[in-house]
């Protein structure tokens, strides 16, 4: 492949246009049009790929519905109840409120599939709770909200895992199951690090909640706690398709907020719809662009070529996985994660398959890696968002994020080296891989 081939020029156009600020979806459509033109193909193919691709991806409809479900949950007073519940359980330890932040994120992760939604939903509230009376520094509170939010899309439901299911033809159900243990592992290493730091930095303890209060607090949070049970129940009993399960989750969240907690009116419903639609449209545009560009990639036989090239080096599966992890980490420094899932992972998949790497393990590992990219400087979307929400400087926050990043990279190494960590639960429920 030389630099003036149609594919190279299209790739340069896409990278160039998007680095210079054009939305990535538009850039991928534009670059693909350039390829069609240079390769002497019918330029109407861009429209054809986009339209047929979007019309044949039932699975993707789960994404707007999951976003909507989390939005309905956010609109109600569920977050307050959830926080009170978490506080009753872990608030009594040193660094209690910091532990609450993590536990809350794990629970919210089982209702929401997006880290940014998680940080936006609880970020402000956690920030004001943690910095009140100077309990924690603003930078530490903001850093913790960032790192705990990355658990969101690893524990099911998960938007990135739905996208991966689409490009890899893997079952969403098994991918979701595969994310549970790695997601919890990330939570555990974060909590361990907080416990260590709590003694050294003398973090405060929250007022103890009497044990006899616990049933009442749990009861109040119960409708929210039931959401993951309903979601996973729908999925694994085979009663609904994954997309329908997302719709059921959204309906449940709406009913709980509107009828049980009586905190949501028509206006809030409309607001939730527009907020979810905004994310859906921008994500949908990226997916549409990736569908057009993936046609180019497939026409040029790139995945096969790469697979043949890598196989010539006789890589062991482990070396390949390390190579993938390093590549994703580097790419994650300047690429947005969904683009990596939709465009880069399909190119790597045939090699992974040829090396006998399990697609569920590969997908979960890649998604964990990409989520860490959200909090890895220099380009970490979550970091940028939190600096605005919490009004702290990026530099101070990054200093507090680093120790968490180290232990989370440790967890990623473990997830990479021990496939059983990911595959144990799916296999338990019938996955043959």
């Amino acid at each position: 492949m030389n630099l003036t081939s149609p594919f190279s020029l299209a790739l340069i156009a896409i990278v160039g246009l998007s680095l210079l600020g054009l939305p990535v979806g538009h850039a991928m459509i534009g670059g693909s049009i350039l390829w069609l033109f240079l390769a002497g193909r019918d330029m109407g193919t861009a429209a054809e790929q986009l339209l047929n691709g979007m019309m044949s991806s039932q699975l993707l409809l789960a994404i707007p519905l999951f976003i909507l479900a989390a939005e309905f949950m956010n609109a109600g007073s569920i977050m307050d109840r959830l926080l009170r519940f978490c506080n009753a359980i872990v608030g009594r330890f040193r660094g209690g409120l910091a532990q609450v932040n993590v536990v809350q994120s794990i629970i919210f992760a089982s209702m929401s599939g997006s880290a940014l939604a998680d940080a936006a939903g609880s970020g402000k509230l956690m920030q004001s709770l943690m910095t009140r009376d100077g309990k924690y520094t603003p930078a530490f509170a903001a850093a913790l909200t960032c790192v705990s939010s990355v658990i969101g899309p690893i524990v099911p439901p998960s938007i990135p895992l739905v996208l991966y299911a689409l490009v890899s033809d893997t079952s969403v159900g098994y991918l979701f199951l595969g994310g549970i243990v790695p997601g919890l592992l990330l939570g555990v290493v974060q909590m361990a690090l907080i416990a260590l730091a709590a003694r050294r930095r003398n973090f405060p303890i929250e007022e103890k909640v009497a044990l006899r209060e616990l049933p009442r607090i749990t009861w109040q949070a119960l409708p929210a706690l039931l959401m993951p049970v309903i979601l996973l129940g729908c999925l694994y009993s085979g009663v609904t398709t994954p997309t329908e399960a997302a719709a059921v989750a959204a309906l449940y969240a709406l009913l709980v907020s509107a009828l049980l907690y009586r905190t949501v009116g028509w206006k809030d419903v409309y607001h939730s719809l527009t907020t979810s639609a905004r994310v859906t449209v921008s994500l949908g545009m990226l997916i549409a662009g990736a569908m057009v560009f993936n046609f180019v990639i497939t026409s040029e036989n790139i995945p096969r070529t790469l697979s043949a090239m890598l196989q010539a080096y006789e890589l062991s599966p482990l070396t390949f996985l390390l190579f993938v992890n390093l590549t994703l980490l580097v790419l994650g420094c300047f690429l947005e994660g969904t683009t990596i899932i939709l465009v880069i992972l399909p190119v790597m998949l045939p090699t992974a398959q040829a090396l006998g790497i399990d697609p569920v393990h590969f997908g979960v590992m890649a998604v964990v890696n990409i989520m860490l990219g959200l909090v890895t400087p220099p380009y970490g979307l979550l970091l940028f968002m939190m600096t605005k929400i919490a009004d702290v400087s990026l530099r101070d926050m990054v200093r507090e994020v680093m120790p968490f990043l180290y232990v989370m990279f440790g967890a990623l190494a473990l997830i990479t080296l021990v496939p059983d960590l990911t595959l144990w639960l799916p296999r338990l429920l019938g996955y043959k891989g």
Binding site: I33, Q58, E244, T274, R278, G284, L286, K388
Partner: protein, 172 residues
């Protein structure tokens, strides 16, 4: 921008928001109806899934064409954001012009693809595909007009849009 034009653009943007939010609501309801019919009446319906897929396609294309601002789309603004205003203006002109050229170049071919699809219809709702797919032409036309407007605006010396990383979307 002329106040009348400004008003018209804002009006279109608000109506597009209504449409997109409505389509998401429609998709949600269609799914619930589908589940209810299958499990409570033991009567699987096909039109609902077709309706929700159509709602998804229209949401994305109409939303991207008429509703979202460029800063709300998924994009990498790290490089562009680190440049000075003058450099950003020049780059803005080049990027917008390239976008106009690429989309305009493929417009006739897209037009003939969409009109050719009149021979087919969807399986349940019997919507003719040329009618259904014409939303792509609307989208492509809007992209051309919006970026052509950007070129014009930047050439006349308007400053580039301020970059706000918190507004950038991501599905993650």
């Amino acid at each position: 921008m002329h106040p009348f034009m400004r008003g018209a653009v804002d009006w279109i943007r608000r109506r597009a928001e209504n449409v997109v939010a409505g389509l998401l609501g429609l998709m949600f309801v269609a799914f619930i109806v589908q589940i209810v019919f299958r499990y409570f009446f033991n009567f699987p319906i096909g039109w609902s899934s077709e309706l929700s897929v159509v709602a998804w396609l229209y949401m994305v294309l109409i939303g991207a064409a008429f509703w979202l601002r460029e800063g709300e789309e998924i994009r990498f603004d790290l490089v562009a954001g680190s440049l000075g205003p003058r450099a950003r203006r020049i780059i803005g002109i080049l990027v917008a012009a390239a976008t106009v050229v690429l989309f305009a170049m493929s417009f006739p071919a897209a037009w003939s693809y969409v009109t050719f699809m009149k021979v087919e219809s969807t399986s349940y709702l019997k919507i003719r595909l040329d009618v259904l797919y014409s939303v792509y032409l609307l989208f492509a036309a809007a992209v051309i007009v919006r970026y052509a407007w950007d070129v014009w605006r930047l050439l006349r010396g308007a400053g580039p849009e301020a970059i706000d990383a918190t507004k950038t979307s991501s599905g993650l």
